[in-house]
């Protein structure tokens, strides 16, 4: 059985890995881990508690967690359907749509932030409309942070979920249809549970990207303590005056990320 969702039988003997793989895998791991370890070594541990427990740091941490969570939820709610349409839809020009979805990845985040400012800023196309119609201004609010994060993180979710949808195929949806399930029901009861691992790993990627987001946020949402100054922005500011503080705050970011991912990931694997 294909069983993306299967309980691994503890009796299944591991299919061996080619030995040679371990060398590049080790190198790749070292490339990622060593710089972070180096960062840890540079850290001024005794000063750490003071730095991390400052009001500014706590504000930023709270804001970072809040906005990254909101953005991830929005990414799932909007990006999930987009991934399904890209993977399953039969539209002319789907190929072009697919490339466009990747654009926020290529755009330097600051430019992405500027693009958002041009669009949703008070003088922007959409921004003017929003202000006239509802009296809402988006930039420099926490909503702007969420928007900026969603913009940069959306492609992550879409691309990994689309990959999972493609790999899992449509066989089970076809079976559901022959059992009388409407597309909506088949989607809810078959597609979603089957691609849950893909969705979760996409969500983890998106969350991580949101947590680390800097350029688009500072350009679009500004850097206001408690409202828009997330941890990465605080790191940037701290660097102006105190590199040690910046490093310490980065480590906080790293720890938060590892904790959140460790909480989210097990389900990916167990299911």
């Amino acid at each position: 059985m294909t069983a993306p969702v299967r309980t691994r039988d503890r009796h299944e003997a591991a299919v061996g890995l080619p030995r040679l793989l371990w060398v590049p895998a080790g190198l790749a791991f070292a490339l990622i881990a060593l710089p972070v370890v180096g960062l840890g070594l540079r850290t001024d541990w005794p000063r750490l508690p003071e730095l991390l427990l400052s009001e500014a740091a706590l504000d930023a941490l709270r804001l970072s967690l809040l906005t990254a969570s909101c953005s991830t939820v929005i990414c799932i709610v909007l990006g999930g359907p987009l991934a399904v349409v890209l993977a399953r839809g039969r539209l002319p020009g789907l190929q072009v749509l697919r490339s466009i979805v990747l654009l926020p990845l290529v755009l330097p985040p600051v430019v992405g932030g500027l693009a958002l400012l041009y669009l949703v800023g008070r003088t922007g196309l959409v921004g003017q409309g929003l202000e006239l119609a509802f009296g809402i201004t988006v930039p420099f609010t926490t909503a702007a942070v969420v928007l900026a994060q969603t913009f940069v993180a959306l492609p992550f979710l879409v691309v990994s979920l689309e990959g999972a949808l493609r790999t899992s195929g449509q066989r089970y949806e076809a079976v559901a249809a022959t059992l009388g399930a409407s597309p909506a029901l088949a989607f809810r009861r078959v597609t979603v549970p089957l691609v849950l691992p893909g969705l979760l790993s996409g969500a983890v990627l998106a969350f991580a990207r949101c947590l680390g987001e800097f350029g688009a946020t500072i350009a679009f949402a500004g850097s206001l303590q408690g409202t828009t100054r997330t941890l990465p922005l605080l790191v940037y500011l701290a660097r102006e005056s105190d590199v040690d503080a910046a490093v310490a705050l980065s480590l906080l970011l790293v720890v938060v990320a590892v904790v959140v991912i460790a909480i989210a990931r097990p389900r990916t694997v167990a299911s």
Binding site: M1, A3, V5, V175, G180, S182
Partner: protein, 352 residues
């Protein structure tokens, strides 16, 4: 329905409540046919009607999606939903039809018992054996009680204990329920027990179509004969028998066929006597063959013929049922040259 190197071109119909068996060799287009009926495949040209409703009509551009056809399909691969337990797999269809959770589970439980898998209700597909999966898949296909039920080899992979029981269950469901069913099978027994009518497909075309008993008792194609367990020789009707392509006359009783018509000679393997040397005697049909295989079957042993070197090709595949004692007396091994002898009175010749 056209594919590279394969074209399915059939016209079949089943009356409401009728069970239609589809037989045919591998690659004949049986699964493709069910795909078209269920709506999972779009034919290049064609019309499919279920009850009153036209569900596919390429000329009019109609293609009703599978879930709105009222058609259930048990595909050749079980494809149980890997994330659901056996019970939830079976309850899926009734739930989709709007049946309440409790009622759907009760129905699932009942069907689980019906397919003799009551103990497996809480298992996921990955925790079941091949035959267990097949049972649950069958139960799942039966659960929504669709107006038209399409079953692709539903009894494959089942053990001897289970096969009769499942066959009885299917019979109950499709015969007593007022469901119309199309059943793909490789077994004459399934067709005989379950089906009112039989369609035989070969190479994407219908080669036989009729009442189950008629088709299996008077096969017109080599494939049907093989399924029915009969020997068949094709040729042209001649006076007193059938003239084979290489000119030999197979004597037999003609049955409403005119001389010159294409016809087939049919006889049961049990009517074939086997000799190691050419016998002299009353039987008119004496065929030189090479022994291809010896297959014990219960009380008798089936000897399967192949064409002898330089002999006619049409003897290939003919079978003779003899007693084990006779085989011991003959003392033969595959490859030996033998004579198959059939009395003319045992040979029925009918048109094609």
């Amino acid at each position: 329905m056209r594919r590279p190197a394969f074209t399915l071109d059939v016209s079949i119909s089943a009356a409401p409540g009728e069970v239609l068996a589809v037989l045919g060799p591998n690659g004949a287009g049986k699964s493709t046919l069910l795909g078209v009926l269920s709506g999972l495949l779009r034919p290049d040209e064609g019309l499919v009607r279920v009850g009153e409703h036209v569900v596919t009509d390429t000329a009019a551009g109609v293609h009703v999606p599978p879930h709105r056809r009222g058609v259930g399909l048990l595909a050749q691969q079980a494809l149980l939903f890997p994330h659901l337990t056996a019970r939830d797999n079976i309850a899926f269809g009734p739930r989709a039809a709007g049946v309440g959770r409790r009622e759907a589970r009760a129905r699932a439980e009942e069907l689980l018992t019906g397919v003799d898998a009551a103990a497996l209700g809480d298992r996921r597909p990955a925790q079941m054996s091949g035959g267990q999966q097949q049972r649950v898949a069958l139960a799942r296909a039966l659960a929504p009680e669709p107006a038209l039920l399409l079953l692709d080899e539903p009894l494959a992979a089942l053990d001897v204990d289970a096969t009769p029981a499942m066959r009885a269950l299917l019979r109950r469901v499709v015969r007593d329920g007022k469901q119309t069913a199309v059943l793909v099978t490789h077994s004459a027994l399934d067709a005989l027990v379950l089906a009112d009518r039989v369609v035989v497909l070969t190479g994407g075309r219908v080669v036989e179509d009729g009442g189950t008993r008629d088709v299996l008792a008077r096969p017109r194609s080599a494939f049907t004969a093989r399924i029915a367990g009969l020997d068949l020789v094709p040729g042209v009707c001649d006076v007193g028998g059938l003239r084979t392509p290489d000119g030999l006359l197979v004597s037999g009783l003609t049955d409403g066929v005119d001389v010159g018509d294409t016809a087939v000679a049919v006889f049961p393997p049990s009517a074939v006597a086997v000799y190691a040397t050419r016998p002299d005697g009353s039987p008119r049909n004496v065929l030189p063959v090479r022994l291809a295989a010896i297959e014990p079957r219960g009380d008798v042993v089936r000897l399967r013929a192949a064409a002898p070197p330089g002999g006619p090709a049409w003897v290939d595949g003919l079978a003779a049922d003899v007693t084990p004692a006779a085989v011991a007396d003959l003392g033969v091994e595959p490859g030996a040259e033998l004579w198959f002898v059939v009395k003319a009175t045992e040979v029925a010749i009918h048109g094609q």
